[in-house]
């Protein structure tokens, strides 16, 4: 049995302009100790699906799923109180903005000790000892003195380390990292990713890494989930994904990597992720897809298929009787002419 088993998860928001489906039929299966990356542009519903799992969405969100099991516990049916006993202890999450995600009014030590006390208990001395240990573990120098520091007295990278210490304090079995490095300097980014990777191996916990950065994915993940406009479009192990991307979106994302660029100008994907008001018919990716056909514009691909596309790519060429536009004919926008 897998540690986390989500089947057909959808999240809808009631907005002034109607219902907005932020997550649309996402499946996610994670085994003990596995490292999964969820990739997609901003607005593709990566964070929302994980926030739904954590129960952190506002009440305006309507969450539905065929199945949402964590370690055999049905997260859909348990009470709020029961969920609170799992959240922060067995499943925990770190966020994108370390500077605003820590409470400015309390010391770092207090905020770490608080979560341990809530879930595991302990005397003040024990808590303090454990907090120092944790701060050391995430690579903060002089942890004894840092205990009494306020978040604003430290850098973004340090705060993100504190955040990680806080969230691994109760030895979670699943850690979700929501773009943990986006707000940080490039040099710090690598350190934090390295730290997460080490901790994951050391503690044997499962790690979900939400990112829009394919480079990060290549370095860290084992399995990759590509999401677009709330839908999961492709799921592969990392080697397969980089060698043989099957969905045009994945293909385009990979082409946009500087390392893979073959032309002088870096290719990009034209347009943006559709929002509430400009949602296309048929396949959601069709307005931006270089291989789109009339079928793509009319019919949505089947959710059940492994790759959410009418014409999955093989070696960069669409299959399944695609009526004939080959990749070489159409340059990705920005490509050399």
């Amino acid at each position: 049995m897998s540690l986390l088993d989500i089947k057909n998860l959808s999240v809808e928001f009631q907005t002034a302009h109607g219902l907005f489906r932020a997550v649309d039929g996402v499946d996610l299966e994670i085994d003990q100790g596995e490292m999964v990356a969820i990739v997609g542009e901003s607005g593709s519903g990566k964070s929302v699906s994980m926030l739904a799992l954590m129960g952190l969405l506002p009440w305006t969100a309507n969450i539905t799923a065929d199945r949402m099991l964590f370690d055999g516990i049905d997260l859909l049916s348990i009470s709020k109180k029961e969920r609170r006993q799992i959240i922060g202890k067995d499943i925990s999450m770190i966020f994108q903005e370390p500077m605003t995600s820590l409470n400015p009014c309390f010391t770092v030590g207090y905020q770490i000790m608080e979560v341990i006390k809530e879930h595991l208990g302990g005397t003040k001395k024990e808590l303090e000892k454990r907090a120092i240990e944790l701060l050391g573990l995430v690579g903060i120098p002089a942890p004894e003195t840092r205990l009494r520091a306020f978040p604003h007295q430290m850098s973004g990278g340090m705060n993100q380390r504190v955040m990680i210490a806080m969230m691994i304090a109760c030895n979670p079995r699943l850690l979700i990292a929501d773009e943990p490095t986006t707000a940080l300097d490039v040099t710090i980014q690598a350190q934090i990713l390295e730290l997460l990777g080490e901790l994951q191996k050391e503690k044997g916990m499962a790690l979900v890494l939400i990112t829009h950065d394919m480079g990060v994915v290549a370095e860290t993940a084992e399995v990759v989930n590509v999401q677009y406009a709330g839908q999961q479009v492709e799921r592969q192990d990392v080697v397969g994904l980089f060698d043989k991307p099957q969905h045009p979106y994945t293909y385009a994302l990979l082409n946009a990597l500087p390392e893979r660029a073959t032309s002088k100008r870096l290719p990009s994907i034209p347009g943006v992720v559709p929002g509430l008001l400009d949602r296309p018919t048929g396949c959601l990716f069709n307005p931006r897809c270089q291989f789109a056909t009339d079928k793509c514009r009319k019919e949505a691909p089947d959710h059940a298929s492994k790759v959410l596309c009418h014409y999955p790519l093989v070696d960069g060429k669409p299959t399944n009787n695609h009526p004939g536009v080959s990749a070489s004919d159409v340059s990705v926008s920005g490509g050399a002419v």
């Binding site: 959240i87 925990s92 409470n103 809530e118 306020f150 604003h152 955040m163």
Partner: protein, 338 residues
Amino acid sequence: MLRFIISKLGVLIPTFLGVTLIAFSFIRMLPGDPIELLAGERGVSPERHAQLMADLGFDRPIWEQYFSFLWGILQGDFGVSFTSRTPVLEEFLTRFPATVELAGCAIIFAALIGLPAGIIAAVKRGSAFDHTLMGISLAGYSMPIFWWGLLLIILFSSPDMLGLTPVSGRLSALFWIDQDTGFMLIDAFVSDEKGAFKSAVSHLILPTIVLGTIPMAIIARQTRSAMLEVLGEDYVRTAKAKGLSPLRIVGVHALRNALITVITVIGLQVGVLLAGAILTETIFSWPGIGKWMIDSISRRDYFAVQGGIVLIASIVMTVNLLVDFMYGLINPRILHRR
């Protein structure tokens, strides 16, 4: 810290000088002859007039008058009341505790109700409770408190209605206690007179409600909006992700941050309270500085008014300064800034 103090003083000193200038020009700008105004309908003989002009310094050049006025203030001499012949400072100090007692009770009353109400309204945003509370607080904010006082007297003091609370003053005439501190609650509590404390409390109830109504409405509204803002912050989401109880998330993580603004708002109510005290004390014959100012104005005791303005403005400025300090103390982001 030192720089903070210096920058504050840089604003305070000119403001204080401005207040003394306004208070000073008050008498001089009254239409007509100052002595005749002060003497009122009784009138004065020409000799007495000249004598008074010299005594009060009205015959000297205007700038000399101002500097001697200012010099006096700096030495604690706020002039002498024209009607009672006692120093203005002394008159002020004997009445000040009554106002402090009333204003203190009012602000405590306002905070005790306004804070929890605002917090609950924010947590249950959009609920019936939220709408009701915001309606009530807007009504409180719109309340003409001089009428509110009269209405409460009709309801609670009128023998036809409830007949529960006394109508005026600080203590029943049945009791005679030593006023050591000037705070009736304390004096009555330590005195031997039985029932004096109860009487003091019952005299305080209505004025407290009347004076506390507007601050209560302001505190409730401000607490609600501060809490709403804080509840949307990232660190509240973090607290939820830690699996903390809602009580802890709201009561510790959110409230601690919201209090920074709310305490500032409470502190800044001192001007509102003193303005309200003028009306409240008039309605309930409460012997505080508000009533003293009104009486002095209607008695044309302009020296008392002049000194009173400077003293009251100084209190407002001091409290605002303290609030600024306190803001630094409760906000770690400012406290630890170098």
